[in-house]
Every structure is written in C-alpha cells, then in structure tokens.
Assembly symmetry: C2
Homo-oligomer: 182 residues x 2
C-alpha cells in the first residue's frame, strides 16, 4: 500500500533513475520503508503507466540505458491526499518477540547468543542515526520541512533505544533462568 508513495516522496525530493532510487532506499527513505531494486523497477513501471510520474525526455528508452523519472502534478496530488488518509496502524509483527514466546515452551537454547547479536546490531543502527542527526540537524538550523524530517529521524532513534532496552531486559531475564528449562 505504501511503496508507490515512498517512491513519489523520493522522486519529489530529487528526480532520479531506478538505480539511484535503489541506493537512496538503502539510506534515508529506506530506513523506514525498505525496497529492493526489483520492487522499485516494477513500481516505477506502474506509476508511469498511471501517469503519476514520467521519464525525462532526455533519456530515450533502451535496456541498459539510464532512465530518469520526475513526478507529475497528478502524482503530487495523490501523495498529498495519502498524507491525511485514514489508515489503521498494522499490528506488531516481530519474530524476536515470537521466538521468546516459543522459548517459554520449548526451551531457550541458543536464544541468548541471538539476543546479544541483535543488541549489537541495534546499537550500531542507533549510532548511525545519532551520527546523521548530528550532521543534518544541528541545533542552530530550524527550517520547517527540516523539523518534520527531524521528527521522523527521532522516531527511528527512539525505536532503536526501545529495542536496546528490551533486549537488555530480556537477556537479564534469561540469565536468571534455571540452566536447563523444560
């Protein structure tokens, strides 16, 4: 439901080719909505057919030839409409929480190592976000669009902090458990 809107947003921020988009989805936008290059090409095709974007005339179509896209007015309207649309939050779907629950039934073997690994990954991600915050949102700057983007980034930061806190708590609980549960 949201990939086309992610692409429209990215293209409005800066007209790009498919591969450029893919790279940007590995960084900024992709921190909150990831996508592979196959998904992106497929979706670009649909968006073009729906006349929400168009290929820049400079780039004539040919396989292997770079193709730049820009958003058409209809695409901008669609995105503006989506921003305020009613859409329920998706229920949580997290494999780690589920594994923890499974561990309560079949035992915790190997789980502690996996939790530690995740803890480390989330710490790295947090460090990366904090680094971006320092570089892109220094206290003195204060433009309006920047403030919205900053709130988004802070969301990512607080989510990572949540995971770090929860994983630490869970590891503590695991250690306090009898050695061979069940």
């Amino acid at each position: 439901m949201s990939l086309p809107h992610a692409i429209l947003t990215a293209l409005l921020e800066k007209p790009s080719s498919g591969l450029e988009l893919t790279r940007r989805f590995d960084r900024s936008i992709g921190y909150f909505w990831s996508a592979t290059h196959q998904q992106i090409y497929r979706e670009l095709g649909k968006l073009e057919e729906a006349r929400l974007i168009r290929a820049l005339p400079s780039s004539q179509p040919a396989r292997g030839r770079r193709k730049e896209y820009e958003v058409l007015p209809a695409g901008r309207s669609e995105l503006a409409g989506w921003v305020g649309r009613t859409e329920d939050p998706k229920p949580i779907r997290d494999a780690l929480l589920l594994r923890m629950r499974a561990a309560a039934v079949v035992g915790t073997e190997g789980l502690d190592a996996e939790l530690r690994r995740h803890l480390d990954l989330h710490r790295r991600q947090l460090a990366e976000y904090e680094d971006i915050e320092k570089r892109h949102f220094p206290p003195e700057r204060d433009a309006a669009e920047d403030r919205l983007r900053h709130v988004v980034l802070r969301g990512g930061i607080e989510l990572e902090r949540f995971w770090i806190g929860w994983l630490t708590e869970a590891l503590g609980e695991l250690e306090r458990l009898p050695p061979a549960p069940r």
Copy 2:
C-alpha cells in the same frame, strides 16, 4: 518465515482446531504475529503434510467438521531449533513515519487528525496490555515460563509507550508549524 512457528507455539501451548487458533491469534499470540483464518488453514495443511503436526484421530476429516491438531516430536524439534537460529531483524517498515516524511514535501493537510487517531488507538492498546499484565502477571507469581512470557508482554507495552511518546512529540511539532506549509 515465522507463521508456521507461531502456529507450532500456539499448538504446543494447547492443541486446537483451526478456528480456535484463529481466535487465539486475535488475542495472545496474535498481538505479536497476526494471521487470518485463511493463512492458518493453509499453513495447517502444510504442517500436516510435513509431518510436524497431526490431526487427532478422534476428528475424522470432513468439510465443516471440527478438526483438532497436535504437535509431533518433529514439530517440537523444528521449533526448538528456530528459537536459537540466526535471523537478522527486519528493517523498520512504518507507514506513519513515511507519511510524515512525505508531509515535509507536499504539506501536512489532514495529518494532525490522523496522528490524533493513532494516538488514541495506541493508548487503548496500551491499556489493554496493562490490564493483561495485572491479570496474568501479578507480582507474587514467579514461574520460569511465566517470566519469559511476561518479558514479551512488557515488550508490547514499551512499544506502545514509544508510539504514544513519538505521536505526542510529532503533534507538537505540527502545531508549531506555519499554517499553510508549502
């Protein structure tokens, strides 16, 4: 990747029919891994074929006739192995964060109402979790498996608190913005 494991966990906690599972996925397990009855029936079929579960002999197969399943030893092993398996955390995929980012480009119209709606939904969910915590995990109880399940629930609680905090912050930011951005 995880639905079969969610089902195995649920069936180990209590052998059930497809519809019973569906109901339980609307409550406990489903708080962390939701599934519709179609997914569940499809998956039950696969698990049975793979000999990880079996239908209880009492319930002879017939459309419309209740069919109870239980986990076979192979199913329990599979689940125990999965608990400690290496599996990277999925990157965040959240439409609200994305919409916020889109709003920075095309304007925030309608977004504040939607954020308030989500804030309300998350407050309700938090209240429900806290209620479950009071009923299922009173301070005096302290069994080992219970502690793991309690950690899972606390994860859900802290996640809801994260959303409530972030949405509050985001709403504050929206109000502080010029009335007709961009």
